[in-house]
Amino acid sequence: MSDDHLYMTLAEGHEDDTRWAYGTGFEDPLHGVDTTVPEDVDAAELAALCAALGDDALVGAQRLAEWTTRAPELEEEVALANIGLDLLGQARLLYARCGRTDGTGRGEDAYAYFRDPGEFRNVTLAELPNGDFAFSMARLLVLSSWRLHHLDGLTASPDPVLRAVAAKGVKELTYHRRYAAEWVVRLGDGTEESHRRMRAGIEQVAPYLEELFGAFDARAEVLADLRQVLDAAGLELPATAPAAAGPGREGRHTEHLAPLLQELQSVARAHPEATW
């Protein structure tokens, strides 16, 4: 068979190395894009928004990565990784945009690996530990719904780069929201145990809604999404007092962010001179 030796060429030089495999040629995520900030856009404000949305995505992706090899079924391994990879891709684009607009010229890795917890601006719901599958699905539903409506608004941003990132993200988040919604319904409607766990998951997530609406007010849209899903799941959104934590947008975090970042940054910080 002719391709018995298809990888004999491994050690040879490749002109097309930027294209041969997923992600590996992705040195500059905004390569070829006109990154000039339009005159009517406040660069500092744009940078802050990109960093915050990038942090939400990175921290969310990190929590999803923790499910790897621990998911309840192989199909869920694949789906959770898909969602994590989408968010990681969004984080990279947003950090790249941030580096071009905040005046520092930093690359994506500077934001992910060389900032301390107090400099992160993600919403605190994203950083909470995974808990059980029901909590993870409740959180994914809420975060996906909120982010979807947030990015949907940004598809009209005066910044063309953010507009493009948002348009891509809207497609991805529509799937994330559907995936989470289907699980919330399955678990709510499943067995006695799954119903109990799903109800607990929703109860744990509910106190963090106010923080989300404070960061971007999509209250009506998110509550409508939740009502529809919870109704089908035989669950209700409890009336709860807002969580004491946060807001993450001001750099105030729970005790869970520091260990998450310590793990994420450990190798990069141990070898600051290295190239990967």
């Binding site: 990888y7 994506e108 990069a268 190239t275």
Partner: protein, 328 residues
Amino acid sequence: MTAQQATASAAPGALPPLQEHFDATIARDQRIEPRDWMPDGYRSTLIRQIAQHAHSEIIGMQPEGEWITRAPSLRRKAILFAKVQDEAGHGLYLYSAAETLGADRADLTERLIEGRQKYSSIFNYPTPTFADVGVIGWFVDGAAICNQVPLCRSSYGPYARAMVRICKEESFHQRQGYELLMTMMSGTDAQREMVQDAVNRWWWPSLMMFGPPDDNSPNSAASMAWKIKRHSNDELRRRFVDMTVPQAEKLGVTLPDPELRRNEESGRHDFGTPDWSELMRVIKGDGPCNAQRVERRRTAHEEGAWVREAAAAHAARQAARTEKGTAA
């Protein structure tokens, strides 16, 4: 009922034509498909092989999966996350291929976590540094491709077709691993040492991935005759060495075998003998990570039981609701 079905349901004396048809299909290098008659031994050998392969993909997510949360750049994080996801996907196709032979995925999973079915012994070694991610891609995916490319011509159709897709993805993974090592070798001294150390640890276990030597491989003969397997263990091992030596030179690492040298006569490579007693120990369950790998899979499976039960209960209720709606 077709003539063939009639024959199959007739007395055992009527079977030889089916056996003849099967043998002729194999002899013509054509594919056996799920609804074709096949000897029991062919079926059980395939189920065993495909299940072990599926288990290897799933357990094989663990050694590298450990590094997704710690990958030192966002680009490497994305590559590794996608690779480990591909392995879950490979596991899924392979369990599906096994199901076409009448196996049941839940049952195969039980066999894995109860230690009644094996997976590749290579995944029982630890991954202490990020260089291990690159070396696994280069050696382990490389060895897997050596083993698997011939399986794209396996006589069993669903397995052969699954292997085509899997091999394409594995060759991406191998190149990604090698590219990571190339990058690390052009970095700091500490990175170069890390790569050489990982090469030293993975070389011999990778050679063992081809299985015991031919004179001590109990299942090989029948598999070769049935064209489930196409080349002997020793031949595949040698191919892997021949391919890897020039790659190691280009990378600037030393393969840890003092007996390794080019044989001018054959143009191939002579090399030392792996420690087969180590392979036997690891296969029997005494490798560095056997217990932890199976334990992780067991924990995930058991902790996910309530989720799978809920999904089944919801699906049953939905079906009942639909039926009721239709009846009304």
